[in-house]
Every structure is written in C-alpha cells, then in structure tokens.
C-alpha cells in the first residue's frame, strides 16, 4: 500500500455509493439499545447474525467471550478499510491511503505502551488494527521487539523513523512515553497534508478542509484536557500543526484561561456543533462527558460535510470515523458487560449520532 500519485481519474461515484450503503448498515440507536441489555454471549450471537458474521466465524475457534468480540471487531474494521483501498483509484486512493496510516500510528503506540507496561504479547496483539500500510512482517517484528529502542530500529525506514529517533533522547531522560507518542502523532498528521499540489483542485481542497477540521478537534480536545487538569505541561508539546482554529502560541495562552477558550470555541465555525460539548463542560464534573460530546460533534460535522459534498473524499472519511466509533461502542458495551456495569452507565459511555 504505497501512495500512487500518477493515477488518472478518481472514481468517486463508485466509492461513495459503496461507502454510503455500508454506512447505512452500521448499528443504529435501536441496535445499541438491544446490545446494552444483552450478556456477552448474546452480544456474540447478535454479531454473528450481523455484518460481523464472517469475522466471528473465522475467529470463533481461536478465541471466546469478549476477546472473540474484540478480535472480530478489529478484523472486520481492517477488512472494511482494506476494501476502501481496493475500490479507490487515482487521487482518491492516495487520500485514503494517507488517512489510513493513522492505524500504523495507533499500532506503534500500542506496541510501545505494551513494552512500557510489560504487557503480554497476546494482550498487545489484540489491540492492533491491521488496516494501515505496515506489512504483516513488520507488525510481527514490532511485536517481537523487546525494547523501545528495538521498536525504533524496526521503524527506521518508515516515515515515523526520524521523528522517533529525535524523540528518543527525551524519552531516555524523562522515562515517560509522551514525547514518543507525540512524535508518532505529529509524523502522521504532518504527512497527511504535505506533498499535495501547490494549487489545490476542488477535490484536494475538500480533503484538506476535512483534515483541518479533524486536527482542530484534536487540538480542542487536548486544550480542554490540559486546561481542566491544570497540570503544568507545556501546551506546545501537544499541539498539532495544520489546523485552522489555533496557532501554537494562541493555544498556549488559551489553555491557561478556560473561560476565554470556551468563548473562543463558541464563536468559531464549529460553534453550533460544539454547543452540546461546551454546555457539558460548564456543567459536568469530569472530562469524559466533554470528550464524548466532542466526538459526537466531530461525527456530526463529518456527516454535514459528506452531505454537502457528496462526490468527494468527505463521505469516505465520514464512514471511517463512523465505523471506528461503532467498534469503540460495541467494545465498550462488551467490556462493560463483562465488568458487570449496569445498562445506564454503559449507555452513558456510548457515542451515538
């Protein structure tokens, strides 16, 4: 899966038609309500009768219980996203391939966290999502790595290599993973927008618009977290470049002053979408409610964009976001049930649009 740039036309019509009908098949509110009232065994059966049938049957012999559900979710997700790449041609392929590299970033972070916390290889493997650019062999080598240094060696020839090598010094000094994780995130977001044509066409402009919105939401999330936690951390360390809403200095100033940050967000382009999240922020005690509201706002915004520009990359990305949300929701339900939480608590944890 390397990015092809010399491709001729993109086949937006075909890809968006497929993506839209797949999105229509995602679980809706009623399905979630049913799932919340089921036990883990029933959830597994419900999934066998849905989209996840193939993955459930393929993995049924090797895993059981909630592990089976989690593996099936991840495998199904990876299959769907591989399909997207199979469908797409030309520039559209390039955009999707760039976007799906977020799973490489996710996998690297998961492996590093696993090594950092001395987790079992199996536990780490469960959490990997094989939808990115990395080959099976590279993922095997990542899983086999014994130390953070070995992970960085395995990644030396990828786009994450330089950034990780630079951040390694700081990791050794402070013995926390944050610098390495930030390096991975930044390497991902920076390659998303670089290397595009200087005078973007309409399609490229929409791709950039979508990603800028996503980067803005990430920055808002980080800013709110930092501002709420009151921790003495340099906000610049978490800042992701390329968004429309803040620049680095501005974000630094706003983190120190929550009220100003909120009023600034209300006035922004996302004001209407963020309304629920911001009211939640004013009333709620914890941050998790706000983060869910933010996620919901991002989903809604992506849906607006995909309805406004039907023949563009927006419906595809909106589907990717919605699918990832579904996987998170089902996993939250299954894990919540396993831990014996009551339905109301689980329902609060879900993000539904």
């Amino acid at each position: 899966m390397s990015t092809r740039t010399n491709g001729s036309g993109s086949n937006y019509e075909y890809v968006t038609a497929r993506v839209r009908s797949r999105r229509a098949k995602l679980f809706d509110e009623d399905d979630y309500r049913k799932l919340i009232r089921m036990g883990p065994g029933e959830i597994a059966r419900f999934m066998e009768e849905s989209e996840y049938e193939e993955a459930m049957n393929a993995l049924g012999a090797r895993y059981s219980g909630v592990d089976l559900i989690e593996h099936a979710l991840h495998r199904n997700l990876a299959n769907h996203f591989d399909d997207l790449l199979r469908f797409a041609e030309g520039r559209l392929y390039d955009y999707i391939a760039r976007y799906l590299r977020q799973f490489d970033a996710w996998n690297i972070k998961t492996v590093m966290r696993g090594i950092y916390s001395d987790a079992e290889r199996e536990a780490v493997e469960t959490d990997l999502i094989r939808a990115g650019e990395f080959s099976e062999r590279r993922i095997e080598r990542l899983l086999g790595a014994e130390s953070i240094e070995a992970v960085i060696d395995v990644l030396a020839d990828t786009m994450f290599g330089d950034a990780l090598a630079d951040a390694y010094g700081e990791y050794e000094e402070r013995a926390v993973l944050v610098p390495l994780e930030n390096a991975v995130d930044r390497a991902f977001y920076e390659t998303l927008i670089t290397g595009l044509p200087d005078e973007p066409s309409r399609a490229t402009q929409l791709y950039i618009d979508f990603l800028e919105a996503e980067i803005d939401f990430r920055n808002i999330e980080n800013a709110l977290r930092l501002s709420r936690s009151g921790a003495d951390v340099d906000p610049a360390e978490y800042y992701i470049g390329g968004g429309r809403l803040f620049d680095e200095e501005e974000l630094g100033a706003l983190v120190a002053n929550t009220d100003e940050l909120v009023s600034r967000l209300r006035e922004s382009t996302y004001g209407d979408d963020l309304d629920a999240a911001l009211s939640e922020l004013e009333s709620a005690e914890g941050l998790s409610g706000v983060e869910r509201a933010l996620n919901r706002a991002l989903l809604e915004y992506s849906r607006t964009l995909s309805n406004r520009y039907p023949l563009s990359v927006c419906p595809v990305f909106a589907y990717v976001l919605a699918k990832m949300r579904e996987v998170d929701n089902v996993r939250a339900i299954a894990r919540g049930k396993e831990a014996g939480l009551d339905p109301e608590t689980i329902e609060e944890e879900l993000v539904m649009v």
Partner: protein, 87 residues
C-alpha cells in the same frame, strides 16, 4: 477514404456558401443535436453507472432500479430526436 469524403463534404459546403445557401442544412443541425445529446447522456451515465454498480455490489438496491437509474439520461437523447421531425 475518410479524408477524401471530408474534403468532398467541405467542398460541398463551400459551394453551398458561395451560392448564398446556409453552411449547414437543417437535417445536419438536427443530426448534430442528437449527437451532442448522446455525448452528454454518455457522460452522465458514466457517473450514474459507476454509482449504481457500487450500490448493487453492496446489495442495497435491486438490479431493476440500478438499470433504470443508469439509463435515465437516455431520455434526453429521445427528446432530441424531436428535432429531426421539427426541422
């Protein structure tokens, strides 16, 4: 062969012009209209066809609907056939 015919047609048109007649006859314009409409319909069907196949592959519409949607732009070609009778 084609070159020869084109030259002949061109000379015909030149002769007509010199005689004070129109550069292209009514039938010619009508034929052009039908041809251009066909071209437009083809372009529209390209996109619709791709989308219809996509939706069909996902089992979200029936073959009948996909077919109807795909050939819908063909109506414009039928309408331009009127020009052949009105010229």
């Amino acid at each position: 062969m084609i070159g020869l015919e084109l030259t002949a047609a061109f000379i015909d048109a030149m002769v007509l012009l010199q005689q004070g007649g129109p550069a292209i006859t009514g039938t010619g314009v009508a034929a052009l209209a039908v041809g251009l409409a066909g071209f437009g319909a083809g372009y529209a069907e390209r996109g619709i066809g791709a989308a219809a196949i996509g939706a069909l592959a996902e089992d979200s519409i029936s073959f009948g609907i996909a077919l109807v949607l795909t050939v819908l732009p063909e109506t414009i070609v039928l309408l331009t056939l009127v020009t052949l009778f009105l010229q």
